[in-house]
Symmetry: C2
Subunit: 206 residues, 2 copies
């Protein structure tokens, strides 16, 4: 019985993933005010009403998608921080990976911005999203420690997270440039922070 139940749960989660995949494809091809349950259902090849078998409403679907992608991103960054040996340029790698991930997962980023800007989420959703963000902070802190920063790395984590978000919001849609150029530009702008921080760390060591 337990085996069967497990199978059921697995199946259910597979189907949820399928719907989330479709939602992301829609999110990354339409302006977000055009993303509708009908559109998502069409992309997934099911009836709009079927979505409600797996998600209680639209917000829950978007939140679940965001959390799924956040976990991917956090794992990727955590892996980089872990694998980088002391003395190697961990922050550059973290910055590059963050910017590349979000450029590749446009849908994820747009959902994030919607949540941050709308500010009318259910308490349950808010709680889940906040938990993810806090885990993200911890990974950034680990990176600063690895760089040899001895000051308050919590506020640095607040700073870099917001700074990277800002660069993505601000330059994601530079008119008249292709994606590659835009990504290069974003990385260059983000590394201003890394250079300043490194210069400070060296100075403090003296």
């Amino acid at each position: 019985m337990s085996v069967l139940t497990d199978l059921k749960i697995k199946e259910r989660s597979d189907r949820k993933d399928l719907i989330i995949d479709a939602a992301e494809r829609v999110f990354s091809t339409r302006p977000f005010n055009r993303v509708s349950m009908r559109e998502i259902a069409g992309e997934a090849g099911i009836a709009p009403s079927s979505i409600y078998t797996y998600f209680p409403n639209q917000e829950a679907l978007f939140v679940e998608a965001t959390i799924r992608d956040s976990n991917l991103l956090i794992e990727e960054i955590a892996g980089i921080v872990e694998r980088t040996r002391a003395g190697r340029p961990v922050l550059d790698r973290v910055i590059d990976s963050f910017i590349e991930f979000i450029s590749k997962h446009d849908s994820y980023f747009r959902m994030m911005v919607v949540f941050m800007t709308i500010g009318s989420l259910s308490p349950e959703s808010l709680k889940r999203l906040n938990e993810v963000v806090r885990r993200g902070f911890r990974v950034f802190e680990a990176a600063f420690k690895k760089m040899g920063y001895r000051g308050n790395s919590r506020i640095l984590a607040y700073h870099i997270f917001a700074m990277l978000n800002g660069i993505l919001v601000t330059y994601r849609k530079l008119p008249g440039r292709n994606d590659e150029k835009i990504i290069a530009h974003m990385k260059r702008v983000a590394k201003v922070f890394r250079e300043l921080l490194q210069s400070k760390i060296r100075k403090d060591r003296q």
Copy 2:
């Protein structure tokens, strides 16, 4: 005849302002997916159709509102940079003023984010908004020069603008804190950048 024409133009611009004022009041009290032409008209005390006497469509109204506020903000920052004597902490003042302005003009910020995220503006609107952003960069550059920074102040301007945007997007709606605390938090996080930059300027001077 010219005098009368001038009066007409003045009147027209006054009425546009009136509608923009109403739009901003609506924008700052409703989540932005609830901001409608009907709602704005109601707030302005006119019929929805009357808005179309002054603005060709919704996008044009939002763009005009954004540009009006941007000019206010840029003038404020430019004034601060101009009035601050050399050696005084110009960047702290600029940061504080930026964060306070945008916290006070929530509607402005939300429109900005919508534009940056949607990416489906008409070329005309895009051009006008870009022109404003470029003027903003120039003001930031002036501030860095005033601080005695001798390096590439253009990329610093790109950086600080995006960083401030990011801080506002990310922390504007921290759950469980009042506005005052949130503003203080944002200023603290933004000043990480100022501290690092100042440390670098001092080091370069040695």
